[in-house]
Every structure is written in C-alpha cells, then in structure tokens.
C-alpha cells in the first residue's frame, strides 16, 4: 500500500496563495504580493516534481480519495461523486507542464506587471487560475474536471478583463466567457448522458463500463453522441471552429495572461479532455473523424488569417488556434500521445513567443503594431535570441522541439488519411511563413517606430517619449531563457518513440482504428523531408517579402484585392456571428423577454396587484364615512345576515 502522495496539496497551495493575495493583498507591498504568489506557485511545482520522483514506485493509475461529495438517490441507481484525484502518465505530463510553465510565467509577471495598478489582484487571479487548472488536470471524475473547466473559464474572464475600465477589455472578457459557456453546454449534456447510461462519472468506473461495450462502427449511437458533445465542449475551451472567436479578442489581457492561459494551459484543457476520454472516442470512429476534420480545418483556417495580421499578439493568437488544430488532428487520428507531445512542446515555444512578445512590447513602450517595429535585434538581443529559438521551434525546423512533435502528428495523419497530411503540410508552410514574417518585421530591417510616440493600444505599458528600445529586466529574461532551452531540447524526449512509449499504458496505442503497421522507414524519410522543405520554403518566402523586397507585400495585397481584405478582416466571421446570432438574440431578448415578460408580465403583475388592491380599498373605504347613520345601516344589514345564517344553521 503506497503511502499517500497528498495530491490535494497541489491545487490547494495556489488556492491558498490566491486567498491570501485576494483578501489581504491590497495592503501588502509589491514584494510581499509577489513573494506570496511565487511561493505558492513554486510550491505546487515542487510537489509536482516530488510526484514525478515517486512516480516509478506507484501503481498506476493511482487514485486518491479526498472527501465525500455527492450522494444522490439510493439503491442501484444511486449517483455518487467524490472529491478524488487520478494520477497516471498523462496526468504527470500535464502536471509538470502546467506547474512548470506556470511558475515561470509567474516570475515573468512580477517584472511585467510591476508598474501596473491592481498588482495584488493580478496575482490572486493568476494563482486562482492555477488552482482550477490543477483541479482539472488531477480530477478523478468528470464532475471535478468540470469544476476546473468552469473555473479556468472564470479565471480567464477575470484576467482578460483585468483592465476592466477599458471597454474593449471588458467586452473581450465577456465574449470569452460566453463562447466558452456554449461549449460547456455540450460538455454538460455529455456528462448527463454518461450519468444516465453508466451511472457514474468516475474515470475508473466509466472507462471500465465503456470498454466492455463494443465499438460503434456506423451511425450515431450513444458513444458517438457523447464523443461529439465532448468535442463541442473542447471546441469552446480550446478555440476550435466554430467557437474560436474569443481567443483573438482575449489578447486584450496582459501578455503573461495570454502566455499562460491562452497558449500553454487553459486552451490545452480541451485536448487533455479528449485524450483522457480516448476510451469513448476509440469506440466512436465517427466522432473521432469529426474531431480530426475540425482540427485540420481550424489549423488551416487560422493560419491563413495569421498571415495578414499586423498586431504581434494577434498573429500569435491565431497561431495558437492553428497549433491547437494540429493537436486535435492528432487526437482525431487516434494518435493521442502525439497530440500530447505537441501540447507539451507548444507550451514551451508558444509560451516563450508570448513572453518574448511581451518583452518586445515592453521594450518599444507599449506599441503592438509590427509595422512600427523593426531592427530590434540590436536593442534587445536576449529577447531576440530567445524568440528566434521559439520561431524555429514552431516552424518545425530540426532539431528544435516543434520539429519532432509536428512530424509525429503528420506521420500519423498520413497513415490515417493522406488528405489530413496534405493539409497539415500546407498549414506548416503557412505557419513557417507567418512566424518568420513576424520575426523579420520585428527584429530585422530598420526601426520604424522612432516617429510615433508609441502608445500601445491594448497594453498600456509605455512611457511618454520613450527614446530607444531597451531590454527587459532580468526577472523577465530568465524565464525566457529557460523556456528557450526547453524549446530547443524539449522535443528530444520524443526521439525513438520514448515519449509515446511512456504514454502507451494510458492510451493502449494500437488498439484503435487503423495505424496498426508502422510506416516503412523510406516513407518516413520522404514525409520528413517534405515537411522540412515546407518549413524552409516558408522561411525563404518570408525573407523575400519582408526583408529583401519589402514593397512586395503591398503589391501582392493590392493584386489580390477582395481576397486580401477578407483575410485581413478575419473572413468577417465576427460580423457574421453578430448578425446571425448576437443581434437576433439581443433583439429577441429585448423585445420578448424584457418588454414582454419582465415588464409586461412580471412588473405588470406586481403593479396590477398593487393597483387592484388600491381600487378595492378605494371602494371599500366608503364604508368608513364617519357618518353615524351609515354605520347603523351596515350594522342592521350585517345583523340580518348573521341572523339568517344562524337560523339556517339551526334548521340544518
């Protein structure tokens, strides 16, 4: 019997930090607030390391019971949910990524947010987010996972709208939360179906019951429905088509928030959930196909939008959506370990890209428009080097981290269906293009920002009359450097299939559709060469357009005319949603629910009741006329009634 790991400490420590900072932080000094936040975030990370150290001696999957929660009903249909934790290899990977990258971002935020108001609030929210994310990752049943799921949505809302006095930030926060909720609706229905048909939400029980059922090869049976509904939830949380619209708007939040929540951790919750539910998806191939298609299409779609964006954070936002598409594509072809591998490397390089972007924005005094940057590599060399590492990683250049994870996905996609692979390679080409575009526009050429005073729009981070761009303080640079090392080496755990082997007990790889025979070595070499060439091609194209002959992009844009406009305006998706969904909803709500129901029925009922009472009393008050004779009249009449009643009673 293994002694308890006290897994509950891992989420509880950040919660404690959030409580301390939230309730008392207003009176603390900045040093105290950051101290508290870093201590508890760091403690969570240390606990995760401790768990990793004890990992080999554990019997997996390791479950830990914390407390009783729900006991509903009785007898054979009793529904029980407990507060419990579930630990296996998948959990461990997520745990290390979340606590590790989270801790680095906490450190970075101390420097980035030093000048901001509401310092304590930021760190309280950040710690709160860690608590919910860790609850999600460590959950032992779907209901607890849902708590974490909703909670990270809440934390995201709070952090996106951190500068809540700004209209755009407040709206972005609302948009994120509401679109998330649409996905959560699907998730909830999936949970209800699980409860109804399997009587429990506990991972162990549910997966055991499901694995005893046969697979559904055709049509839309129960498991397919559950899978599709879970995918709806994942699409909301992980910004896939059609619920991705909140992620670009979420860039209104501070950059460390974008790094932590919208790159490394929260948006990956959807991928984690799909991977965790692989038992369901393995038996519902139609659902899995839908997952793959959504992932692939999103990857391509978002990448195309990314090439025309001028705000450095928006490029990275669409890039995140696109890379998440890759992860879902991987899960969709039952290559779950590849998806998780990419999740891990993506956390490293995307987190680094966002933190680096924050450093760049800090350097140029708040400007986020890349057209006003350029030539920054002389001013901020360390940021330049680290961001270059990240750019190479995301483009998938060997031997950086992205290469290994992306290639793993592409190889498995090819095995499933060459169409996925083709779109994936095209997307890789586009990814490489826009990332190097960003790289060139930001760091190479001449600095174009000297004339503009550099007041940033979304990130009010500048000072007046900034002068030359300057490097960020060490507290911001050290996390960048650590993440750069991870972006460089992080992929090497995948060599020789070691990562896949590590996760194999979770996924039982090979028991799913297709992909039973390994690719021949020759095919693999060809695939790798093609994808590498695509990446390099993108690089060269970016070099040509943005360094060599910078007047070309404008000419191409003019040539493409309407098509280019559509891409710049994100294919007008936000406008379409507004007309199709938002406006009718708001109008209907105003007319039907507000005027019709609230004012017409509820208010009217209350007001009319009051009016009615008034009218009745108005009529009745004539009885109290102050006139003796009318009183006597009433008494006589009343007396007659009473006498009549008594006689009637006596007669009966």
């Amino acid at each position: 019997m293994t002694p308890s790991l006290h897994l509950w400490l891992i989420p509880a420590l950040p919660l404690l930090g959030a409580a301390i900072n939230g309730f008392f932080g207003r009176r603390f000094s900045r040093q105290a607030v950051s101290g508290v936040a870093l201590t508890f975030a760091g403690a969570a990370f240390l606990m995760a390391l401790y768990v990793a150290a004890r990992f080999s001696s554990l019997e997996l999957p390791y479950t830990e019971f914390l407390a009783h929660w729900i006991r509903s009903g009785s007898g054979p249909h009793m529904f029980v949910a407990e507060f419990e934790f579930y630990l296996d290899q998948l959990t461990l990977v997520m745990l290390l990524v979340v606590t590790g990258v989270g801790f680095l971002i906490h450190i970075y935020s101390v420097g980035y947010m030093w000048e901001e108001g509401g310092f304590y609030r930021f760190f309280a929210y950040l710690n709160l987010f860690m608590f919910f994310m860790l609850t999600l990752v460590l959950a032992g049943n779907y209901l607890q996972m849902f708590i974490g799921w909703e909670g990270v949505g809440l934390a995201s809302y709070l952090l996106i709208g951190f500068w809540f006095t700004k209209d755009s930030a407040a709206s972005a926060g609302k948009k994120a939360f509401i679109v998330n909720r649409i996905g959560d609706f699907g998730f909830l229905i999936a949970l209800f179906l699980l409860i109804k048909h399997f009587g429990s939400l506990n991972f162990g029980q549910v997966f055991t019951s499901i694995s005893q059922k046969p697979g559904e090869s055709t049509g839309f049976g129960l498991l397919t429905s559950i899978g599709l509904l879970l995918m709806v939830g994942a699409a909301g949380k992980s910004a896939q088509i059609p619920l991705y619209v909140w992620l670009p708007d979420a860039m209104e939040g501070p950059t460390p928030v974008s790094a932590l929540i919208h790159a490394a951790t929260m948006v990956t919750a959807g991928v984690y959930m799909v991977a965790r539910s692989h038992v369901i998806f393995d038996r519902a191939p139609n659902a899995l196909t839908v997952v793959a298609i959504i992932g692939t299409l999103t990857a391509l779609f978002a990448a195309t939008i990314g090439i025309a964006q001028t705000d450095i954070k928006k490029v990275l936002a669409y890039s995140t959506v696109s890379q998440l598409g890759y992860m879902f594509m991987a899960c969709g072809v039952a290559a779950y370990s590849a998806g998780i591998f990419h999740l891990m490397t993506h956390a490293f390089f995307k987190g680094l890209l966002f933190l680096g972007a924050g450093s760049v924005i800090h350097a140029v005094g708040g400007e986020q428009d890349m057209r006003k940057m350029g030539g920054l590599r002389q001013y901020i060399p360390i940021t330049f080097i680290t961001m270059s590492v990240a750019t190479f990683a995301i483009a998938g250049i060997w031997p950086f981290a992205g290469f290994f994870s992306k290639d793993e996905i592409l190889a498995r996609a090819y095995q499933a269906n060459p169409a996925y692979w083709f779109i994936g390679v095209t997307t890789a080409f586009i990814t490489s293009f826009y990332m190097f575009r960003l790289w060139y526009m930001t760091f190479w050429g001449d600095y174009r920002g000297r004339d503009s005073a550099g007041h940033g729009h979304a990130d009010p981070h500048g000072h007046q009359g900034h002068g030359d761009p300057h490097e960020s303080p060490m507290v911001m640079l050290v996390p960048l450097m650590i993440l750069a090392v991870l972006s460089f080496t992080g992929g090497w755990v995948g060599i020789g299939g070691r990562f896949e082997h590590f996760l194999a007990p979770v996924f039982g790889e090979g028991a799913s559709t297709g992909a039973t025979e390994a690719l021949s070595h020759g095919t693999e070499i060809i695939l790798v060469t093609i994808s590498l060439s695509a990446a390099v091609l993108g690089w060269i194209l970016a070099y040509q357009l943005y360094l060599k002959r910078p007047e070309l992009p404008q000419k191409i844009a003019d040539m493409l005319g309407g098509l280019y406009q559509a891409v710049v305006h994100k294919y007008y998706i936000d406008e379409i949603y507004a007309t199709l969904f938002v406006k009718p909803l708001v109008d209907g709500s105003t007319r039907i629910l507000w005027h019709g129901v609230d004012q017409g029925v509820i208010d009217a009922a209350v007001n009319d009741a009051a009016d009615g009472a008034r009218h009745v009393s108005d009529a009745a008050r004539h009885m109290q006329s102050g006139n003796l004779r009318s009183y006597a009249g009433w008494v006589a009449a009343g007396g007659a009634v009473v006498i009549a009643y008594m006689i009637w009673m006596g007669v009966r």
């Binding site: 102050g626 006139n627 003796l628 004779r629 006589a636």
Partner: protein, 100 residues
C-alpha cells in the same frame, strides 16, 4: 286567551320601529329615543316568555334591563350635551370628523 305569538309580533314591530327610527332620523336625541323603543320591545318579549314558561327570572331580567337603560340614558344624554357644546348642532350628519 291571547296566543303568545301576538305578543311576540307586537314586540317585533316595536323593535323594527326602533331600528328604522335609528336609521332614518337625523336628530341625535330622536335616535336615542329609538334605542329606548328597541329596549322596550325586547322587554315585552321577555315578560311574554316568562309568562309562557312560568319563570319569574324573565321579569327580573326586565328589571335589570330597565336599570341599564336608565344608566345608559343618563350617560348618553350627558355626551350629547357635551357634543352640542362643541359642535353647536344636534344633526348627526354633521358630527362627522371621522370622515376620510
């Protein structure tokens, strides 16, 4: 030999006259007199029933009713005098300070 119902009818007529007088009349003293008329009507039926059942307590009760009526008349008229002093009128419709 007079059937008892005759006495009761007479009593009822007197009582009804009293109530109607109370409702119709405007002079407060007249109203008071209607009350006395009501009491008298009731007294008659008490005595009639006493005779029917052979119980003298009916007559005793009449005695007490008269005493009470006398006391009530005294106090009531005193009140009327007090009201007359302040309101200068005996018209009951004008004693309506309780009107809303």
């Amino acid at each position: 030999m007079v059937p008892i119902s005759y006495y009761l009818i007479l009593s009822g007529i007197l009582f009804a006259c009293g109530v109607i007088g109370f409702l119709i009349k405007r002079n407060i003293i007249t109203i008071f007199m209607s009350i006395e008329l009501m009491l008298n009507g009731v007294n008659l039926s008490f005595v009639a029933f006493a005779a029917q059942w052979g119980h003298l307590s009916g007559q005793i009760f009449v005695f007490f009713v008269m005493v009470v009526a006398a006391a009530e008349t005294a106090v009531g008229l005193a009140i009327i005098i007090a009201v007359f002093r302040t309101r200068e009128t005996l018209n009951v419709d004008q004693v309506n300070l309780l009107k809303l």
